[in-house]
């Protein structure tokens, strides 16, 4: 068992937000998904106040040892999530972490207050990789903006607040310090790295939006470096992620200072990747008999 922000988890392997749709997977694989659920906690796709249809295709582009995505956070909005998705996610056999994103402190407040009062929700992850409509600044790129957001949200819920850090900054540790000082319970990193690729057939970007976020093994050494830097700067528990494909990769994240490891892109290649990685990690950490 692993303890994370007061939540007991069967192992340290969870999913990265937006990389596993448990409701769709249950439609595809049936009850076997629940009997053999691949993660020790489930992190939802990011919920926004209003529904979003997501970005225009093309949304994904394969790259060496990874992929670029520009999905655009399609979701049913807060009301749709609470009414339609939450009851289904509550049936999962593991604690539920809900990811939320707003474009202002008011929007974040509405999301955190509404999600935080639901007993099905164990913790809330704050996706701060979005511009604030008032300042134009990306909250998660500024220690002061991140701290100010946490100061607003902290009084609204007793549930653990996890800040998802962006890697697209010179010093992610300073943002983590801002989050810690303003009352965050944990940080998770890394989100995807800004990236683009040109379609050789057209000479134009392969992603419809021009650029997106890079994930997969290609980013893992960067993630390990950032987890180490953040671990050295804060005392908060860390969810480490970025290109984790197997038990050895998960071990690397834990050794770098993470308490939990999140699996993202590897689940696209192997739907049971979470189970496999947890088993491989367990084997690695267990002393030989």
């Amino acid at each position: 068992m692993v303890e994370f922000c007061g939540i007991e988890l069967r192992d340290p392997v969870i999913n990265a937000s937006g990389t596993f749709d448990a409701i769709a997977a249950r439609r595809v694989y049936g009850e076997a998904l629940l009997e053999d659920f691949p993660f020790s906690a489930f992190v939802s796709k990011t919920i926004t106040p209003e529904p979003r249809i997501g970005n225009e295709p093309q949304r994904i582009w394969e790259t060496p040892a990874g992929m670029i995505n520009s999905i655009g956070l399609p979701n049913k909005g807060l009301e749709g999530f609470l009414a339609e998705d939450l009851p289904q996610l509550a049936q999962l056999p593991v604690p539920l972490i809900v990811s939320v994103m707003g474009t202002s402190r008011e929007e974040f407040s509405r999301l955190v207050a509404a999600v935080g009062e639901r007993e099905e929700v164990a913790a809330i992850e704050l996706n701060v990789s979005c511009p604030n409509v008032h300042s134009g600044l990306i909250v998660g790129e500024q220690p002061s903006e991140t701290a100010a957001l946490l100061e607003t949200l902290r009084p609204l819920t007793g549930k653990p607040l996890i800040v998802k850090l962006t890697p697209n900054v010179a010093d992610p540790a300073s943002v983590a310090v801002g989050a810690e000082e303003a009352g965050a319970d944990a940080v998770s990193l890394i989100n995807t790295m800004k990236a683009s690729a040109i379609d050789p057939a057209s000479g134009r970007p392969g992603i419809g939006a021009g650029q997106g976020g890079l994930s997969g093994p290609a980013v893992r050494p960067i993630a390990v470096a950032q987890v180490r830097a953040v671990a050295a700067a804060v005392r908060l528990p860390i969810v480490g992620m970025g290109g984790v494909c197997n038990g050895a990769d998960a071990f690397e994240m834990l050794a770098a200072g993470a308490t939990l490891v999140a699996v993202g892109t590897e689940s696209f290649r192997d739907p049971r990747a979470g189970c496999r990685i947890a088993a491989e990690l367990f084997e690695r950490l267990s002393p030989p008999l």
């Binding site: 990389t19 749709d21 053999d36 997501g54 970005n55 997969g216 689940s267 696209f268 290649r269 192997d270």
Partner: protein, 267 residues
Amino acid sequence: MTAPFGRRACEVVDSRASGGYRVFSLLDGEGPEPLPGQFYMLATEHRWQERRERPFLPRALSVADIEPGENGTRLDFLIEGIGPGTDRLCALEPGERVWVNGPLGNSFSTPSELSSGAAGAILVGGGIGIAPLALLRRRFGDRGVPTRLLLGFRDRAHSGGLDDLFRCCEVGLASDDGHVGHHGYVTDLLAAMLEGDDASSAAVYACGPPPMLDAVAALCTGRGVACELAMEAPMACGYGACFGCAVPKPGGGYIRLCVDGPVVRGG
């Protein structure tokens, strides 16, 4: 029947040239028999990522034929090498193993499910898109659904599968370069067929390049004929996780082709 949860390694039992394409066969001892239109996510067990760290993601392939047997179901895939993933799958040799996730996605309806008056089926395939129509033709044959086939190819190098997957039956052929059949588009053949048809008597099933599917949908809409299209979109996972395979839906927004398709109503 749902797909087994996770991916499993299946052995390659055959791989052969089929015109300009290739057909390879996997022995699946675990999964349920796929329905026509369903697909699998495939990646070789070894030497995936061998070309400058690509392919990285598995590739989505519709199943073209199946053969149930004592040790499992033989799954046949028709493939054209057009990039690092399909090139690697084209190079498969018997005895190698392939990671298999599936069967995934929905399947084609019967003519009567599509339109109350429709009793027969017209199958329209273009290029490598003929693959799912082979299994559909077999299923319709088993059920006694009168079925007509129209297949089109660009040129000799971009054609194949006929002797392997359609040797049973009469096929109306078209080719852009005129090397076989009608010199022109397969949709010319469909237009002629629908002109001579009582529009309510048949349903159309199509798979092929997007311009062909658009033309098929327009023809069917114009004649009031029900049609289903098997579509393709860039896909990382195949089971609803990545949201990459978004396809616009009528009235706005998107569907995920992997879980809400790959078969969609045309027109």
